[in-house]
């Protein structure tokens, strides 16, 4: 193999390295999906892989990865480098989930491995994955009861768990002595390591081919190329201050919480000033790492920027998180942050989107997604003394995506924090492994936000724990405010667009336990999770009546929805459009 010489880059090397970095993260992800053991890893793909450089900067944000996971990983990488300065060696592995060091919520545990070449660290392989349990008082991981970070479970600052290839047994004992289902989770750790093995192998091959000097020069140039692209998109917007906001749903008895974003466009740079109330005495606080990722995501989407993303994406952004100790700049400890990957992540994206919607052309508009935090089903397996915990990201069933100008939203793809990366587990595999039945997983009619382009539909999911000697518990937060619609879009038929959590007793009685709540499903009872639909874009009265007709025929918009939300009258038996009545409704 020919080895390149010199420190200069060229167009061929840049394109080749960009392609290689991308395919490495893809390969890392593939191996984890196939080898992890807990459903949240393997079925739901609640993990992300990335590569960082010699300074801990992000080399590639793979387009299959979860924005909330990867956007904040460089902080962790930098924290590991600072903590272990002078003591980083080939074959080391570092674990970290601490929000104070770029962590997000404690269950999202990052594992990093330095990639050595010619005796120095040139790259880092990094993976962050949702551990099914991270300790704490109850065997589930969305515990509204927890009001500070100490109660959330095991906090792991940057910690070397493998030293020059030798696992540090005492650390492993400490970690796995403090989490439930340690066997499964230790197997999951093997899957995480496998991903980093691949990163190491592939990156070393690249360095052998291009040498360190040229590789570093190329990586720097790749950052600049992305930065130039972002600056160009910002420069295309009129200078000015744009204010936006979004609402974090209230818990029972509380007020909704407003999150504000002011985006100041000046030339080819943007300043984003966030302001939010003092941090909450519950889990819905965002540490700076998660907020950073949310702002980056909101900007990229509103600016219409496609991947590849890397360190350059964030360079033109000057982010003011607001005072330490507020919801969007939580101080950990003591703040609890369990909700942050969904709430307020999605709301922070929405507040940035809302501000930028005033600056960008209509054709770039996108709407908010139906946001729902995770649902966790836990209990004791009948006839055993073993816990089971089943974690369902994004509400346990799947909400709808927001519409975009020219495109209806997607149904059932979850919340925006994952962007359609988190998959729904096959029902047959779930029922094979778990002591519950699923009774339905279907589109909820009228759940998509009204708009010229309709929001995506939500899918309702209903479980029944089987013959449980103990009851199962359900936790979760859910957005009870309809997803953010933009560009004159608004819905009149609101109730179906909002999520709900319903406990159904054995006698069939329904209890809507509301948002941000916990339910207790008795033996013989069921639980119904209803996430919200996505927001719409544009005036729904301008929606093509034929599109409304098709939705009605397919049973995803009701006759009432057609009339109220879209001003379209449809014959209930023939599904023909009543032109005259439609005209009347739309003129009204």
């Amino acid at each position: 193999m020919q080895q390149a010489t010199g420190n200069r880059t060229d167009i061929t090397t840049l394109a080749t390295l960009q392609g290689a970095f991308h395919s490495i993260t893809q390969e890392m992800s593939d191996v984890v999906v196939r080898t992890a053991r807990t459903p949240v890893f393997k079925l739901a793909k609640d993990f992300s892989c990335t590569l960082c450089d010699w300074d801990g900067r992000q080399v590639v944000q793979g387009d299959a990865e979860l924005p909330v996971h990867v956007g904040s990983l460089p902080f962790v990488c930098k924290a590991v480098m600072a903590t272990y300065e002078g003591d980083i060696n080939p074959g080391d592995l570092f674990l970290c989930n601490d929000p104070e060091h770029g962590g997000i919520h404690l269950n999202d545990v990052a594992l990093l491995r330095p990639v050595f070449f010619e005796d120095s660290v040139v790259f880092w392989g990094a993976i962050r994955a949702h551990w099914i349990d991270i300790g704490g008082p109850v065997p589930v991981d969305l515990r509204r009861a927890q009001s500070d970070s100490y109660g959330e479970g095991l906090r792991i600052p940057p910690t070397k768990i493998t030293d020059r290839g030798e696992p540090r047994a005492e650390i492993m004992r400490l970690v796995f002595g403090n989490v439930r289902m340690a066997d499964q989770q230790q197997s999951d750790l093997l899957a995480m390591q496998a991903a980093l093995n691949i990163a190491d192998k592939r990156l070393v091959a690249i360095l052998e081919k291009y040498n360190v000097g040229r590789t570093k020069a190329s990586v720097e140039e790749l950052y600049k190329m992305t930065e130039r692209r972002v600056r160009k998109a910002i420069a295309a917007l009129p200078d000015g201050e744009y204010d936006g906001n979004s609402w974090l749903s209230a818990r029972e008895g509380d007020e909704h919480i407003e999150l504000k974003a002011r985006v100041t466009i000046q030339g080819d740079g943007a300043r984003i000033e966030l302001s939010s109330p003092p941090q909450l005495y519950d889990v819905r606080n965002s540490p700076f790492g998660a907020t950073y990722a949310a702002v980056g995501h909101g900007m990229a989407i509103s600016l219409g920027l496609q991947p590849p993303y890397n360190d350059g994406l964030y360079r033109p952004l000057d982010i003011d998180y607001g005072p330490l100790g507020t919801v969007m700049n939580a101080q950990v400890p003591p703040a609890a942050t369990l909700g942050c990957t969904t709430q307020p992540f999605c709301e922070i994206v929405d507040s940035v989107r809302s501000a930028l919607s005033k600056a960008i052309p209509d054709t770039q508009l996108t709407a908010g997604w139906g946001t729902a935090s995770s649902t966790v089903v836990a209990g004791i397996r009948p006839g055993t003394d073993r816990y089971y915990v089943h974690f369902q990201p994004n509400g346990g069933s799947t909400g709808g995506s927001g519409a975009a100008h020219g495109h209806d939203g997607w149904g059932g793809v979850g919340s925006e924090n994952s962007g359609g990366a988190v998959l729904k587990e096959p029902i047959e595999l779930l029922e094979h492994e778990m002591p519950f039945h699923i009774h339905q997983l279907e589109i909820r009619p009228d759940s998509g936000g009204a708009g010229k382009w309709r929001g995506g539909f939500a899918y309702d999911c209903e479980w029944e724990p089987l013959d449980h000697a103990q009851t199962a518990r359900f936790h979760g937060t859910i957005n009870v405010i309809p997803a953010q619609s933009v560009g004159e879009a608004s819905s009149k038929l609101l109730e179906p667009k909002i999520g709900a959590r319903v406990v159904i007793d054995a006698d069939g009685t329904h209890h809507n336990i509301g948002g941000n709540s916990r339910g207790h499903v008795p033996r013989g009872g069921r639980f119904l999770a209803c996430p919200p639909g996505g927001g719409g874009v544009g005036n729904p009265m301008e929606r093509d009546p034929c599109a409304v007709q098709a939705d009605v025929r397919n049973g995803v918009v009701t006759l009432e929805g057609a009339s109220l939300d879209y001003g379209v009258a449809i014959d209930p038996t023939t599904f023909e459009i009543d032109e005259a009545e439609t005209q009347k409704l739309r003129d009204a």
Partner: protein, 689 residues
């Protein structure tokens, strides 16, 4: 003299390969015309008949078997020309098909729509019934719901029905009963049961496969009828077989029973051809690269076995039956070079297609393509392609590269052309890595077989980048898949879902299942006329560590499965896991997920070589047509251009050089040697140091 005939109908051309029992090979190529199948087939046969100097009517009588690969199913899917299909679903689960497990392929692209569901929601009708994981009936089937659904389907004019019920893989009784009722209520409407067409656990892939069957069924059924009628009219009376997505052939009637198998028919024959040519040189590990005008298909054969996988997407629709692993990349001769909004040079996936084609074709195309780069670098002639049959204008290639790439990037034109060539090769190398390295194979053990008109210009450079030692370019390179069709084996796949821990499984269930599958396979192969000596029964188990999502398909030996064999299987699984995923976990429990049996009827026993037209009689120096200035890396050199047709078998020449053949151009970089094997195959190997 008896023959076998391979016909591969592609989007642009239809390829014909006529292979005699002695290995004499004749090829033909005609433009495709889906409207007039008969004249296309006749035109091809006439070309072949002329080559062998016999009348068509006479020739077809000596053909024993015609094997046909077709893009009809794939094209229908891409273009949405699908039957109006209905679906019967378990109550509560009518949206499984539309949810697609919640997948949105491109996270950050908010301006892309999901694929249209194969069955619209108003034709996905729920029936009250429920079977649970154990196979027990939790809720009996309400037959009134089925009859009401049939009524709706009749009123709507539904042309085919998919029956997709939960857990039918464990207990198919409800699906069977629904099928009976539908056939009674809707005579003449084909009904596909998920437990029959794709008996694999995981509802979405199974339902999707069943829906594909219903959506493609009527079209495919008409098509196979039309093919067979046409061939009868021409005077052909023997067997007609079709290439399936598993790489083997099957009969029209079995294809009608599972029309989804017709997806990727055509490209699926590539690996069989690759293996055939690899074996000539002692390689049973082969990577086939078939690069045409718009795309590259890469497939892999390991240890003489064609790689298949399940639960993959075909044009965004999930398929759960075994399918040859063919990775497709938007890299062909017509792939366009462009600069993205960050200033990065990119190649493809957009293509200039056959029309207007590359800039140098002088048909109005102004964008620089891979072919234009090959012209600019001196690999292709400045004034013709296809051995002189097609004139080109090289100044248009230079101009397109200069204007669109070199000037905006502020680099010399030749550097832009080199970058185009290298980037395409890197993209190809990444695709080869995906199919080999990422699946745990050492790519250096493999030989490349380069097919399609465009790969021979790139394959050796890709081989160099991956440390591959041997590149094989058959003279029949441009009709590789038709050749594959002519020589490939019959293959029928059988599956049983059986989930149990490997250590605690019930051997009698396993052995019974294998016996049943073996009996069914034996009957099929008997019907197709394969004696015992030409049968291969490959048994497999899909296994995973407790709790893993991905199972690995582990081949198992013949004979009764007993405790000792389970131990062997366990070891093989641990080794495969380590090879593919970098680690094994011998302390973990293992779970069997399903049992498989691939029944192969071998056709290729008698042919191990081919004779393809006349060979030249000149040494390489005598066969020089001209010399050209060509660029390799940062240097240019005056290199010889050989006329492939004039070269004498056994001759060898060093690179850098170019060999022009009637349908392709082979680029031999410095450090590589090319020789013509007497069996009409070019072999390019690394020059001895």
């Amino acid at each position: 003299m008896s023959y076998r005939l391979g016909i591969d109908i592609g989007g642009t051309f239809t390829d014909f390969v006529l292979l005699s029992e002695n290995g004499d090979l004749v090829v033909a190529k005609t433009p495709s015309n889906p409207e007039d199948l008969k004249s296309v087939i006749l035109a091809g046969l006439e070309q072949l008949a002329e080559e062998v100097s016999r009348p068509v009517a006479d020739l077809v009588k000596d053909v024993d078997i015609i094997v046909h690969g077709t893009t009809i199913a794939t094209n229908a899917l891409i273009q949405g020309r699908l039957a109006k299909a209905g679906m019967i679903c378990t109550k509560g689960f009518r949206d499984v098909l539309e949810l697609r497990e919640g997948l949105k392929e491109e996270r950050y692209n908010y301006r892309v729509d999901p694929p249209a569901p194969l069955v619209p929601r108003h034709l996905r009708l729920a029936v009250d019934e429920r079977i649970i994981a154990s196979g027990a009936i939790h809720q009996p089937l309400d037959e009134r719901d089925v009859r009401a659904a049939a009524e709706t389907f009749r009123a709507e004019g539904v042309e085919a029905v998919a029956v997709a019920l939960l857990w039918s893989v464990i207990n198919p009784s409800h699906e069977l009963r629904v099928g009976e009722i539908l056939r009674e209520e809707l005579p003449g409407v084909p009904v596909f049961l998920s437990s029959e067409v794709a008996p694999n656990i995981r509802e979405y892939p199974r339902f999707s496969t069943t829906a594909l069957c219903a959506a493609l069924g009527p079209l495919l059924s008409q098509y196979t009828d039309r093919v067979e009628t046409t061939l009868r009219e021409i005077g052909y009376a023997n067997a007609v077989r079709y290439i399936q997505c598993n790489g083997g052939t099957t009969s029209g009637s079995l294809l009608k029973a599972c029309p989804a198998l017709a997806l990727d028919s055509g490209p699926a024959a590539g690996p069989a051809a690759g293996l055939f040519f690899g074996k000539m040189f002692g390689y049973s590990d082969v990577i086939s690269m078939d690069m045409g005008g718009t795309s590259l298909d890469v497939s892999l054969v390991h240890n003489g076995h064609i790689e298949t996988s399940t639960n993959v997407d075909v044009h965004r629709y999930r398929l759960s039956v075994p399918k040859v692993v063919v990775n497709t990349l938007g890299a062909g001769g017509g792939s366009i070079g462009w600069i993205d909004d960050s200033g990065m040079l990119r190649m493809g996936p957009r293509s200039a297609e056959a029309y207007p084609g590359p800039a140098c074709y002088d048909r109005g195309g102004e964008l620089p393509t891979v072919t234009d780069a090959n012209v600019a670098l001196g690999y292709f002639s400045a004034d013709h392609l296809l051995g002189g049959r097609m004139a080109i204008n090289s100044s248009l290639a230079h101009q397109a590269i200069s204007t669109n790439l070199a000037e905006p990037l502020s680099v010399p034109e030749i550097e832009a052309a080199r970058a185009m060539y290298t980037i395409v090769n890197e993209n190809m190398a990444n695709e080869v890595r995906r199919i080999s390295t990422e699946r745990g194979y050492d790519v250096r053990d493999f030989a490349f077989v380069a097919g399609g008109g465009c790969s021979p210009a790139h394959a050796v450079s890709v081989a160099a980048a991956l440390d591959v030692e041997t590149v094989i370019v058959p003279r029949a390179a441009s009709v590789l898949c038709a050749f594959g069709a002519a020589i490939t084996d019959v293959r029928h796949d059988h599956h049983r879902t059986y989930m149990a821990s490997l250590s605690g499984c019930d051997l009698s269930i396993i052995n019974n299942a294998f016996e049943e599958m073996t009996a069914a396979a034996a009957q099929e192969l008997t019907e197709e006329g394969f004696p015992d000596t030409q049968r291969d029964l490959r048994r497999t188990m899909d296994i995973r560590y407790d709790g893993e999502i991905g199972e690995l398909t582990i081949p198992i030996d013949s004979g009764p499965v007993d405790a000792a064999m389970l131990e062997t299987i366990r070891t093989a699984f641990d080794q495969a896991h380590e090879r593919i995923y970098t680690f094994a976990d011998p302390n973990s429990g293992c779970q069997i997920m399903s049992l498989g049996l691939a029944a192969i009827g071998r056709r290729t026993d008698s042919i191990d070589h081919i004779q393809h037209g006349d060979s030249g009689d000149q040494s390489f120096p005598d066969a020089v047509m001209t010399t050209r200035t060509a660029w390799f890396d940062e240097n240019s050199a005056e290199i010889p251009v050989y006329d492939g047709a004039r070269v004498k078998p056994g001759e060898i020449a060093p690179g850098p050089a170019v060999v022009e053949e009637a349908t392709t151009t082979i680029v031999v970089p410095p450090g590589w040697d090319i020789r013509l094997d007497p069996r009409h195959v070019w072999v390019i190997t690394r020059a001895p140091a």
